[in-house]
Each structure stands twice: as structure tokens, then as C-alpha cells.
Symmetry: C2
């Protein structure tokens, strides 16, 4: 009774930090045991496609790609991959970019029977039309699937845990967490529950020097990254529940009630350097919030909350007792996510750990890909 499936064909778009790490992890699986054939790579300037002679060398793929005469062409790639899909041949495309343009291709790929795996938050946190097209296309009889574990918490099991809870009939009460590694680091340093501490601007400056923030720190302090992750979580709950859920139908991540940390006076400052030069003028404001919190034995944390009781999805600075896991258990740039559900009752299910970085993000992507085989 031998019906061994063919190896899954894998095409990778995006070979930056995460993409390179992903390819290296994929190729670290010994070939004889690997369920994958890596048949295509696409960077911003080059592409290769060869399904009869898959890529197997972690040491040479970069030079092979660099030496290719072919320019990236997603329409052509779609045709090439579509032609390979059959009842006995699965094909997956890995989007390791953060591109809106690539995300816009997902429905076409899924409809062609090509599974899509990605750490790119754009599609599932963006316009609802694209999101709904993806949902529709991934429930088609082609069997193609859309998997995005690494969009929230990188390699941490967040999306898969959420799906398991909801699909098996648990009721989500509230999901709350520190979803941004940058925000985690900043407030773990800034607000410890003890009186005093470093100035807010100096913590942000050090975070930027350590590479924890974007080049322009406002791109973290605006809270949009957290709002995008909450949108993905909220939509995942709604789309997998068997019964109606009291969560808003978010038109995009802009619908999340997000309280930016950017002082209104500093909105629109064009460069990160200029922004940091002016941030100290607002240190007293942040110090006052910290003092108010510590006087009440509390810490400040920038959290995201998906509340399925009140129907609220919000991102912003909140206060937690110094005995709360967000105060006691966090450190470094860890993410921590609490799942409050009917089954887990008074004590939530908690997942914690590094929620960013190429190695753990690539692992989240490869973990998803392994679910397809």
C-alpha cells in the first residue's frame, strides 16, 4: 500500500535576512529525509526557476541567484508554479518580503492551488477586501492553504495555538500581550515598578543603537506593528469560530484603537535623528506616567488587547501590578501573550519568548511549511 506523496515544491520570494535564514534552515534538513524540493528563488533583482534540478546547496544558492540573467517576474512565476500543481504534486510559495505588492498576489496563487506561507503581516492586517479574498481562496477545493504563524511572535506558537483553541470549540475571552519586541525592551528598561529610572528618550536611543527599533523610532512608537498583529489575531478568531464572536469587523489595522506614543508635537518629523533630538523635551511627560504607576505599585507596558467580551481591539500603554507576569516574567525584548479562554478559566495559557529576529522568524515560516506535508 505504497502511496508516498511527491516532495513539495517550494518557491521563495524575498531573500533578505529572514529569507536567507529560511533557505539555510530548509537546506539544513538532510536531502534524503527532506519533504521539500526548493525550485525557485526571487530577490528584488533576480530570479531562478528550475523544478527538474532543485537547489540543494546552502553555500552556493546566493551566487547561483546572483548569476542568473532573469529578472523577477511574479506573473511568470505564477504561471510556472501553476503548471506544476496536480492532485499528486503540492506547491508552496514562501513570501519572505514585507511587500504589499507581493501580498496582493496571494489570492491568485491560492486559487491556482499554490499554498502560501509568510511572515509578511501586510495581507492579513491590511484592507479587508484582500483578507476576504485570501479566506475565500484558501477554502477552495484546490486544497491550497494560507499559513502565517510567523506574523505574530515569529517562531512562538501563537497563531497555531489560537486556531487550535477556537477550532476545537474553546471560547476566547481575551487575548492580551506584549506583541512588540521593541516596546517590550523599552518599557522593561523604563518602568520597573521602582521609583525613578532612566529618561524615556535615553531608553529609546539605546534601543535604536542596539537595533531594536526601526531606523526611525516613530515607526515603532506609533503602535502600528502591534495594531497589525491584533488585526491578524482578531480576524483569525472570527474566521475560525463555529459560533458568532463579539469582535469588530476591522476594515484594516487602522480600525484598531491605537494610542500612539509619539508626542503630537513630533508627528511627521522626517528623520530618526531629528526625532531623537527632540524627544527629550517630552521626557517629563513619560516620567510622570511612570511615577503615577509606581506609586500604585504598577508598571507601564505597551500592550495589545483583543477583548471578545467588550468587543474591543486596542493597542496602547497600560498599567499592570508589579506582581503581574507582564512585570515579573518579562525581560529583554521578549513577547508574552496570554490567552484567557473558557477552558483555561482563571489562569490563562501563556506563551513567551523572543518575538523577533531572523532565526526565530524563519523557524516560524518553516514550521508552517512542515504542516503542508
Amino acid at each position: 500500500m505504497a502511496f508516498a506523496p511527491s516532495k513539495l515544491y517550494v518557491a521563495v520570494v524575498g531573500v533578505g535576512l529572514v529569507g536567507s535564514e529560511f533557505i539555510n534552515q530548509l537546506l539544513s534538513i538532510p536531502p534524503q529525509g527532506s519533504p521539500f524540493h526548493l525550485i525557485s528563488l526571487t530577490s528584488t533583482t533576480r530570479t531562478i526557476f528550475n523544478h527538474t534540478n532543485p537547489i540543494t546547496s546552502a553555500s552556493s544558492w546566493k551566487s547561483v541567484l546572483a548569476g542568473s540573467p532573469d529578472r523577477p517576474d511574479l506573473a511568470k512565476l505564477t504561471q510556472q508554479l501553476s503548471a506544476l500543481v496536480s492532485p499528486t504534486q503540492k506547491v508552496a510559495l514562501i513570501d519572505n518580503t514585507s511587500s504589499e505588492d507581493v501580498a496582493a498576489m496571494y489570492p491568485a496563487w491560492l486559487n491556482a492551488g499554490i499554498s502560501v506561507v509568510t511572515p509578511n503581516k501586510k495581507a492579513f492586517s491590511g484592507d479587508i477586501a484582500l483578507y476576504e479574498q485570501i479566506i475565500a481562496a484558501s477554502s477552495c477545493p484546490t486544497g491550497a492553504r494560507f499559513l502565517n504563524e510567523a506574523t505574530v511572535g515569529a517562531g512562538l506558537p501563537i497563531i497555531s495555538t489560537l486556531k487550535d483553541l477556537v477550532i476545537t470549540g474553546d471560547k476566547i475571552v481575551k487575548i492580551e500581550g506584549v506583541f512588540s519586541g521593541t516596546m517590550s525592551y523599552i518599557f522593561n528598561e523604563f518602568s520597573t515598578g521602582k521609583p525613578g529610572g532612566p529618561e524615556f528618550s535615553s531608553v529609546v536611543k539605546v534601543a535604536r543603537e542596539k537595533g531594536y527599533t526601526e531606523p526611525h523610532p516613530a515607526d515603532d512608537l506609533n503602535g502600528f506593528d502591534v495594531a497589525r498583529k491584533l488585526t491578524i489575531i482578531s480576524r483569525t478568531v472570527s474566521s475560525h469560530s463555529h459560533t458568532p464572536v463579539s469582535l469588530p469587523k476591522l476594515q484594516s489595522f487602522a480600525d484598531v484603537q491605537t494610542t500612539s506614543l509619539i508626542p503630537p508635537e513630533l508627528e511627521g518629523i522626517p528623520t530618526g535623528d531629528a526625532f531623537l533630538d527632540r524627544l527629550p523635551a517630552f521626557d517629563a511627560r513619560f516620567a510622570q506616567m511612570r511615577a503615577d504607576a509606581s506609586a500604585a505599585n504598577q508598571v507601564l507596558r505597551f500592550v495589545g488587547v483583543v477583548d471578545a467580551v467588550s468587543g474591543q481591539v486596542r493597542a496602547g500603554l497600560e498599567r499592570y501590578p508589579t506582581t503581574h507576569p507582564f512585570a515579573t516574567a518579562l525581560g529583554g525584548s521578549d513577547n508574552i501573550i496570554m490567552f484567557h479562554t473558557e477552558r483555561y478559566g482563571a489562569r490563562p495559557l501563556i506563551v513567551q519568548g523572543a518575538g523577533a529576529g531572523a532565526a526565530v522568524t524563519a523557524m516560524g515560516v518553516l514550521g508552517d511549511l512542515l504542516k503542508l506535508v
Copy 2:
């Protein structure tokens, strides 16, 4: 390009607390969207099998099973299920028992192409011969898979996270955790880091009254439950790693270095009541250990450790600083598991939450079953 797979046929053996909850969760998936057909149930006294008219009613399956004239017959069930397996028809057997006899059937089922999903620890933590037969049979070209997420931490994502880490090439440094809900409750109550506290025997007595221990508390205090879970973890790491791992080849869970909490004088006491009557005579011993720990700002926790550096797999009472997550983050009867790996560096990946109970155990089983479709 329509090639929708047939619905997965599911047979359930064991309809006790976990089994009943599992069946109810499975049947809570709306029929039109369910990827499953529940075709067989087997209790200790009855069995039903009907693949042309699957079970769909959560309210009537118990009476239908109770009214069946057919006695359990695993050999016959094996034949019936084997006959249904085909390249287009997957079949899964769910073992919701804790039976060694049922566990002994896994290789035969897997070799027949029947996937096996179970919260039963016996097979993977028992004799190495059975374990190796399961590994061999689940890598056969039949495509049948063996999944056992719920054997460790019930519904918590422990085994799946471990597999993802190892298969994607991360290096396990150490896995340590509080793996027993019973032990968690006992030591969260007994040892808080502050001087004094309740007597050990009184904590065990209350734990038993609350249903947290087995009827005979020695069945928890011997540490075997933790040793079994460590065996499953250690074997899972070894069998999924691409490179050699410094972990011992455990012949069975008896090879785990387990330090029992049963005072030697109380070994072999036949009943739980008699055991509890005599336990207070040893309270001073436990109080002394607690006093030594709290004098050093430490707490006592019964932990399991799989150390891939020293090659040690051990279960026993250890001391942790009062600032450690095992002291600060734990409460109730929570499990907590820390994955120290190369990628997660200085700060481990942590999963925490209820690690026992019918609802969350059944969820772990159903989550595995969903991976098959």
C-alpha cells in the same frame, strides 16, 4: 482543478472523561465544515462501527454505544479500519485510554496505514522496543502518522513546539519545567519562598480532596508521571534531530533519574488513606528542606530536566530563586516549560498553563487530529 479529499474517518477507543469530551468537541464542529466522519466508538464493554452512517449527535452517541450488542474487539476493529484505508481515504484511530494493551496495537495500526492520535503516555514512555516499532511504522510509505501532543501538558503546545525547533535545525540546550499539575499545586502551596507555611502532609491531603492527586497520592509523589513525560520529550528530540544529540537512549521511563518524594518508610503502603495517615510523621523533613531553601531566597519545585549538554534526564525536587519564573509565574496547578535553545539564547521560549483536565487534554488530541487534514 477540484481534488477535494474525502473526509477523514475517525475511530475512538476509550470514552471516559477525556474520550467523552473529545467526542463532544469533535461533534461541535458544524457538520458541513467538519473534515471528519466519526465512524466507530469503543468503550470497555461495547463497540459500534458504521462508516456509511457516521455518528453526528453529541446528545445521543452515549446511548447508541450503550445499546450496541457488540463487544470490544480491537483485532476486528483493525481489520475494519484497514479495509477503508486507500490513497484517497485517510483513517485515524484515537486512543483515549491509558491502556498498555491498546498502546501495543499502535505499530499494527500504523503499518496498516491508520494514523494514531493519543494522550496515552504508555507507548512513547515505555519499553524502547515498542517505541522503535512506532517510529519505524510512522515513517512508512503508508503516510500514517503518530501524534501525541496531549501526552505532555495536555492542550499546551509542547510537543509541536519541540518538533518545530528541532526539525528546523535549532539546537536544544536544556528543557526544564514543572510537568505535573499535581506537583505544581503541592509546591506552589507548600513553598513560597517566605519562612514557614503549611505542613507538607496537609497540602497533600487538600490536593487529594480537590481531586488534584490520584486516589493514592504516592502515584503522584513517586515522580513517574514526570519521568514518563521526560522520556517522551527526550525521545522526541533524539528522533527529530538531524545531527546527533547528547541524550541517553532511554530503555524506558525507568531510566530517568527520578527522585521520589515518597519517604522510604512509606513505600508500598497499599491505600491512599493509610499513606496519608502516616505522612505527617515526615513533615519535619519537608519543612527542613523548605526552611533551607527560603533561607537562601529559594523555593522548592518538583521539576523535570532534559539536559542536552550534560546528557542528563532527571526528575526531582530542585531549588529555584524566588525571582525565577518557576517561583513568580506559577500558580494553581499550572505546568510551565522552558525551552533553552541555541536560537532562543539567553532567554528561553516558555509555555505555561493548565496541563491536565479533560477539556484541555481533549483539545490537544483534537488539535493533533486537525493536523491530519
